[in-house]
Each structure stands twice: as structure tokens, then as C-alpha cells.
Amino acid sequence: MFLYQLRNELWKLFGKKRTYVGFVIFLLAQTLILLLFRFAVGPTRQMTRLLELNGFEPKEYISSLTVATFMLFPIAYLLLPLFVALVGGDLVAKEAEDGTLRMILSRPVTRLRLLAVKWLAGAIFAFFLSLALGLTGLASAACCFPWGHLFVTNPGEPFAVFDAAAGLRCFFAAHLMLSVKAVSIMGLAFMFSCFNVKPATATILAVALIFVSSILQNIPFFSDFTPWFLTYHLDVWRQLLAAPVSWWKVGQSLSLLAGFNLSFFVIGSTAFYVRDIKS
């Protein structure tokens, strides 16, 4: 039954056109960044200079893998939170707004079960969105740049270099961790969606919270409190693009994110449980 219900949730989710907006916008953003990287002199020149200064051969490192990773940063920071929050915010609130939630809850399904199925469907969407981001990024970069080693300029961190095979592994491992970020933001929006609010309100609240956390985290005054911010742990994917990888930081962030996600779910399901569902 649970699998049937999960399949149904996925039908509902992937049957909607707006679910695909994120995929389309990612593709457009990647194309735009790629064109800028390919035809504007600035980014390539800067990267060439940095590589030369450190004794690396730019031709080997300005590769499709490097460009795909370069494209990842703005999208992961700006677009990904928006689209996963959009879907997470819709999951419960949109059904309540449309009236289908009342139809579902005239059935002998528990509210907790319903939320668990919905959350899982949202998590599957977030995972596929992150995976699609990596695949389309690499595929589009491969159209304009040759295959080669990976050079990562991680903002606020020392740069890192990897040979092609290790670079590809890091690239996909980072996307796997990026999916944890996507699932967490989806979970945050999902929590707000469980309250008696409009879908847009749930999305806006989640995105606003992420941006506020990000802004506070980057204010020097709060530098001592950085590990207390949600966004600091959401950036766990960046750890996988560092050399060497700080595994204890990865473990710490993952366990804290698991705790955050559980808390979001518990708060959301409690709010949903005590709610009256009316037309």
C-alpha cells in the first residue's frame, strides 16, 4: 500500500507542468553561463592566470569537468533552493487550497502516513533535480570544452585540483551531497506547507529563511557562530570538492542535517495533525 501511495504521489508530482520549471530553468542558466565562459574573455583569463601561477598547465585543467563545476556554484546557491522550495511548499498547501486534501482525508489513511508519502515523493524529486543538474551541466560543458582534469575554485577555500577520474568522482559525490541540501530545503518548505497557509507563503518562508541564514552566516561579526547556521551545513556538498576532504566536517553536517530534517518533519506533522481540514 505504501508503495502504491508513493507511486500515486509521484504521478501527481511529475504530472504537473510546474514541476519541470526547475529543470528547464537550470538548463537555461547553464547554457547562459556556458556561453559567457566560452565567449567572454574574463573568466577564462582569470582561471588561466591562477593555474599558471601555481604551476599547472591551463589546457589540461580548463575542461568540461571544470566548467561544469564552475557552473554549479551560482545555480546551487540561487536557483536550487528556489525550485525545491517551490515543490516542497506545494506538497500539502496546494492540495489543501485546491480541496483534494479533503477528498483524501475522507479515506482511511492516517495524516502521518499521508505526510510521510508526500515527503518521500518530494525527496525523490529533489534528488532527481540535483542529479539532473549535474548531468545536464556536464553534458552541456562537454559540447564546448574538452575532457580533462578538474580545477575547483571553491569560494572562501583554497583551490583544489584533481585528475580527470578523481575529478569525476568528486563531481558526482558533490552532487549526491547537493541532493541532501535540496532535500533539506524541500523539507523546510514542506514543514511550512503543513500549516494552514497558502503554497506561495510556504515557499517564500522557506526561501526567506535560507537567505537570512546565508546572509547572517556571511557577516564577519557572526563568524564565530558559523557552524550554528543551517546554510553552513547545507554547503556540505562543497566539502566534497576540496582536497583533502574533511570527512569529520561532512559527517558532522550530515548528522545535523538529519536532525534538522527530522525536526522539520515532526513540527510539520504536528501542525498538520492538530489542524482542522475544512473546505
Binding site: M1, W11, G15, G99, I104, S106, V109, D276, K278, S279
Partner: protein, 308 residues
């Protein structure tokens, strides 16, 4: 089938349902009546475990909805005023989605129900291409899929044209007759309730103001309409002779126990008062309802449809 005991529901400081006790026996078509905001939908919400009561007990099929909701709703189907579906999916897919919240349903059972409601041929079209009538039929199909014993219909004829209302009425009767379902019907259409229900409950501002059979509500055993040359004089004369106990509305007299209309006519004719018409008259549900609302200080609904 449904038992509500001392049920209260407050939204903030407003009491939407107050001390409601109600019993819907198995096999009945039970009508729930009341103005907008009388508490009908809240009461239905509490029966389905969608609205939490502030006080009291709700039992459906013998199970407490608050503590055994899954068991209580296992054999329940429901339709709400405006049938809402996932418009971007087909009718068939919608039926699969809703039915799987109760139990897995075979394709054969789905096809049977689709045929029963008359949607065969359109079940694989997207719901956004359906007319209001087709959506109502789809709503009925989803309500019938779990093989219900109880059907809760909250304003099922809302928004339907006269043909659709007639079709819905026939369908409800067919469901009752062929499948033996217990049906709880909440409706504003008094003539619909009058033609369908055997028992009714009237709610007014969250309070139950009447519960009983429809026959009891509409029957006025001793009330007869009298048309005569001088109604006040006839009333005085009949009261003096003990044949009636009172009158109302300038045209009705209440017969004394054991008095027949023949004796009234005989008396009036003997006193040289012409009798043009005398007839027993049952009230319509509408007149009963409006009278009840007036007694409880309610306003009459502005869009109340006329009773047949």
C-alpha cells in the same frame, strides 16, 4: 451507522456545533438540513475525522472516529459540494489515486465502477476536459470504489443543471435500492431532501432544532384548510361547539381529537355558513423548515428553492 453524542466544535470563540447528538440508522437516507453556516459541513468533517471535536464522541460503523479512524472509514465513501480532482491527470488515474488511500483496487473493479457511473469511454481523458456533470459522476465513482456501506454526500447537486439534479437524485435512489447503502445527504435543495430522505435533522446556528422522520415533519394530522363565506365567524362557531381547538393563517383550522371534517361541514351548513372547500393538507418540507427557522429566530435563506 453514525452516532454523534454531545458533540461540540468551537472555532476560536465561535461555537460552530453545539451539543449535537444524532443517530443515522443503517439503511436510511438521512437528510442534514440547515442554512449556510448552520454547522452541517463541520458536522460532516467531524464524522470523517477531518475536524477535531472540542467535546463529544463520533462513531461511524461502530468505531470511534477519533481513536479508530482507519477502521471507522474503511467502508465510507464521500462526495463534497464541488468535485475537485487532479485536473492534469485522467479520470482513471484519479480513481486509482483516491482508491489507493483505502485499499488496492483491481482494474476490473475500476472498470465496473466507471461503467456504473456512465463514464466509460472518457475515463482516460484528462479531468480538465470533463463537464461539471462528468466530474460529479467521477466523484461518485471514487466514493463507490471502496465498496462503501455508508455514503456521505455534502451538497452533491451543487452547481448541477436541472437534468444533472434529476440524474443525481435517481442515482442516489439507485444506490440505496441496489446496493443497500446508508446515505447521509446534506443539501440546501429542500425538494431533493423531500423526495429522497426518510429521516431528517435540521441544524440552526450549530444547534439541532429537529430530528425525526420526514413524514412526522410534514404531516399535520388535525390541520385542515377551510374556505368559507366568513372564516372568523366559522372559527368562533366551531370553537364554541368544541369541534376545533384553534386556527391559523386565516385559512386553517385545527380539528379537535376525534372530529371528522364531515361534522365540521354539517355544523357550518346548519348555521347557514357556506363551505366552498375543506381539505386535509400536509405541509411541504419548505414550509416546515421555514416555520422552524422562524421559531428559532433565524432568517430565511435568500436563495431557497421552491418546493414541488
Amino acid at each position: 451507522m453514525i452516532e454523534l453524542t454531545n458533540l461540540d466544535k468551537a472555532f476560536g470563540r465561535r461555537l460552530a456545533v453545539a451539543n449535537l447528538s444524532l443517530a443515522v440508522p443503517r439503511g436510511e437516507i438521512f437528510g442534514l438540513l440547515g442554512h449556510n453556516g448552520a454547522g452541517k459541513s463541520t458536522a460532516i468533517g467531524m464524522m470523517l475525522g477531518q475536524v477535531w471535536p472540542s467535546r463529544g464522541e463520533v462513531r461511524v460503523g461502530g468505531f470511534d472516529v477519533l481513536t479508530q479512524r482507519t477502521k471507522a472509514l474503511q467502508k465510507v465513501g464521500a462526495i463534497f459540494e464541488t468535485p475537485v480532482f487532479y485536473d492534469y491527470l485522467s479520470g482513471w488515474r484519479n480513481l486509482e489515486i483516491f482508491s489507493h488511500y483505502t485499499c488496492p483496487v483491481s482494474r476490473q473493479r475500476l472498470a465496473e465502477v466507471v461503467e456504473w457511473v456512465g463514464l466509460t469511454g472518457r475515463e482516460h481523458s484528462r479531468v480538465k476536459t470533463y463537464s461539471h456533470g462528468m466530474r460529479t459522476r467521477l466523484a461518485l465513482a471514487q466514493a463507490l470504489l471502496p465498496n462503501p456501506e455508508l455514503l456521505i454526500l455534502d451538497e452533491p447537486s451543487d452547481g448541477l443543471d436541472p437534468g444533472g439534479i434529476h440524474e443525481m437524485r435517481q442515482t442516489i435512489l439507485r444506490l440505496h435500492r441496489e446496493l443497500g447503502l446508508t446515505i447521509l445527504l446534506s443539501s440546501h435543495l429542500l425538494n431533493e431532501v423531500e423526495q429522497l430522505c426518510t429521516r431528517i435533522c435540521v441544524l440552526h446556528q450549530g444547534h439541532k432544532v429537529y430530528e425525526g422522520t420526514l413524514a412526522e415533519a410534514t404531516q399535520t394530522r388535525n390541520c385542515v384548510r377551510l374556505q368559507t363565506g366568513d372564516f372568523p365567524a366559522a372559527v368562533r362557531m366551531l370553537e364554541a361547539s368544541g369541534l376545533i381547538t384553534g386556527s391559523r393563517d386565516g385559512k386553517y383550522v385545527i380539528l379537535a381529537e376525534g372530529t371528522g371534517t364531515d361534522r365540521v361541514v354539517k355544523q357550518l351548513v346548519a348555521e347557514n355558513l357556506p363551505v366552498f372547500e375543506i381539505a386535509r393538507e400536509d405541509r411541504t418540507l419548505e414550509s416546515f423548515y421555514l416555520n422552524l427557522m422562524q421559531q428559532h429566530g433565524g432568517k430565511t435563506p435568500p436563495t431557497l428553492p421552491p418546493a414541488n
